[in-house]
């Protein structure tokens, strides 16, 4: 449970935490649409404003949300550089009478514009996803997904089983993390060294952790299966839920915000003059 912010629930009580997970998932999808519809910086600014609202009303420290961007920083920089160098624009940038064009590289004004766009888009996507996972427990997230995917049940997709598999997997991540730490400590006490030596040595050093970990995962799986069977779990269609998802005024607000964002972006695309 150490440095895995991405997908880690941040337990505080807030407006966003209390929203229905289904609405939050729909909001995420709608937000992605808005980000990609934005043809100019007006639209991006509107999306950014909504993002700021979301972070503010989630009461999660900005630092924790930003930490999830750190994981994809490399991706952002990489795509930015590719776009900068290879975008097929028309007006090459000229600095001190030297056009920035060399071999197959060509830095253009359009390229720079597009690069900024791509960076902003990835950044916002990651941030909004982080807000979702920080404010929604994995269990309610899968509940929401299952509920949203109900139509697939009509064409015989085992949505319920898939959702169950996912929620058990998510539920087990912290348990396995603890387990890994415990086993590593036990082997470290017997002189195992995980942080020195070349790649071959390091891979070899993992075996004494991996074997007990797999065994314990299997043992847990078996126990969980037995426990579920002992409580007569069959995954039948008539199963009812302990926690019912309900829409509230919060979700209505969220829906309105989303509608306003998408409409705003479309209108700005049509009516406002382009920058650059």
């Amino acid at each position: 449970m150490k440095d895995v912010t991405f997908g880690q629930y941040y337990p505080v009580d807030s407006f966003v935490h209390k929203c229905d997970p289904r609405m939050k998932i729909l909001f995420l999808i709608g937000y992605l649409v808005a980000v990609f519809l934005s043809a100019d910086f007006y639209g991006l600014a509107a999306c950014a404003a909504v993002l700021v609202l979301c972070v503010a009303f989630s009461r999660v420290p900005v630092k924790s949300v930003l930490r999830s961007v750190k994981g994809v920083l490399f991706l952002i920089v990489f795509t930015a550089i590719l776009n900068l160098l290879f975008y097929r624009g028309e007006t090459t940038v000229v600095i001190a009478d030297v056009p920035l064009r060399w071999w197959i590289f060509n830095i253009t004004v359009e390229g720079i514009r597009f690069m900024i766009f791509v960076m902003c888009r990835i950044f916002m996507l990651v941030m909004i996803s982080a807000v979702l996972t920080l404010t929604t427990t994995p269990v309610s997230l899968t509940d929401g997904l299952e509920s949203l995917l109900t139509p697939l049940k009509w064409i015989r997709v085992p949505v319920h089983a898939l959702a169950l598999i996912m929620s058990i997997a998510l539920r087990m991540i912290p348990t396995l993390m603890d387990e890994i730490e415990r086993i590593m400590n036990a082997q470290r006490a017997r002189g195992a060294d995980f942080s020195h030596g070349g790649p071959v040595k390091r891979v070899k050093a993992i075996i004494p952790v991996l074997v007990p970990l797999l065994l314990s995962a299997l043992r847990r799986a078996e126990e969980l299966g037995d426990a579920m069977e002992a409580r007569c779990y069959t995954g039948s269609r008539t199963r009812t839920r302990y926690k019912k998802l309900t829409f509230t005024w919060r979700d209505l607000l969220l829906a309105l915000l989303l509608a306003a964002l998408i409409a705003g972006v479309v209108l700005m695309n049509v009516y406002l003059p382009p920058i650059l």
Partner: protein, 321 residues
């Protein structure tokens, strides 16, 4: 090696939403040669403390990236912490923690879950090979593994080539303990070594620990839930509560502190329990915590009664304590 801790604090996940202060101002000295018990309710910090003893949990000041912070002006200065095991200073990041681990053996709770190798022999030899400064000769390894397995009460020839996963639960635990003691640590630390064993298994394990203490590891520190186990075996006992050491007692003191112990939600040793019930009925018997000791003290008490009131006429039932 003497173990000395003073004003030790430890917080898991410091500075985050998940911060838990697991140790609060722990001060404790364990002398060389002791058979030392650690008791306390679940979550009282026992495991956190003992994992400090071989550097598996490092204090911030012992971590590689540690930079001393300037103390804030006006803030109260906490008393300086200290943690020494023999000559090792565990608060210093320059300490060689691997060398420390070779001297301080650690048996975790359910140690059988750390077995991994294809044969019992390989598993027991794992620690030996890890700590060796240069590659060991085959016969050296063989002799050490044989000694360790026989000390924990297993038949070397019969078991060395078997898979550790085919053994019974009790055998697995013995193999795991052999894998720790094979390096002949001076201090052996065990976290609830008897957890999940049946009464016979528990008794065998305690006698194994006594054997180890007698001629293998000078100092033995063990965590237990079972007050009787601790009271009957240890030279001294530390009682943990809410992250701190509440008392450090000898078994005899443990016997007479029942009020304090019950307040902490701890089970009394059986002998102390009976003594307390008698105390409520107005009879005071002083003894240690072993059933034998209590029986002796009770017998002495009863025979002294008999001398005081000789040859009473029998009317009705004779009361029995």
């Amino acid at each position: 090696m003497r173990i000395r801790a003073e004003h030790l604090n430890y917080t898991y996940n410091p500075g985050t939403e998940f911060a838990v202060q697991a140790l609060k101002d722990v001060s404790l000295t364990i002398e060389e040669g002791e058979f030392f018990g650690v008791v306390g309710h679940t979550g009282s910090g026992k495991s956190t403390f003992i994992q400090h003893l071989n550097g598996l949990i490092l204090q911030p000041s012992a971590q590689k990236k540690y930079k001393p912070k300037k103390p804030k002006k006006g803030a109260p200065v906490p008393p300086p912490s200290l943690l020494h095991v023999g000559d090792f200073d565990l608060l210093d990041k320059k300490t060689d923690f691997r060398a420390l681990r070779a001297k301080v053996g650690m048996v975790f709770q359910y140690p059988e879950h750390q077995l991994f190798a294809e044969t019992v022999f390989d598993d027991v030899a794992f620690g030996l090979k890890n700590f060796a400064k240069e590659p060991l000769k085959g016969e050296t390894v063989e002799r050490a593994v044989k000694d360790a397995l026989e000390t924990v009460g297993l038949d070397y020839a019969a078991i060395k080539d078997r898979s550790p996963f085919d053994l019974s639960g009790g055998q697995k635990r013995r193999v795991a303990i052999a894998g720790v003691i094979v390096t002949r640590p001076e201090v052996l630390v065990l976290d609830e070594p008897a957890a999940g064993l049946d009464p016979l298994g528990k008794r065998e394990l305690m006698s194994l620990l006594h054997r180890l203490h007698a001629d293998w590891c000078k100092t033995v520190v063990f965590v237990s839930h079972d007050m009787d186990e601790v009271a009957q075996n240890c030279s001294r006992v530390a009682v943990f509560a809410d992250g701190g050491v509440k008392y450090t007692l000898t078994p005899r003191e443990l016997f007479s502190r029942f009020g304090d112990l019950e307040e902490l939600g701890l089970e009394l040793p059986a002998a102390a329990k009976v003594a307390r019930l008698l105390h409520e009925k107005g009879i005071d018997i002083e003894s240690d915590c072993t059933p034998d000791g209590f029986a002796d003290a009770a017998a002495a008490y009863l025979s002294s009664l008999r001398k005081e009131t000789p040859a009473q006429p029998r009317d009705g039932e004779g009361g029995q304590a």
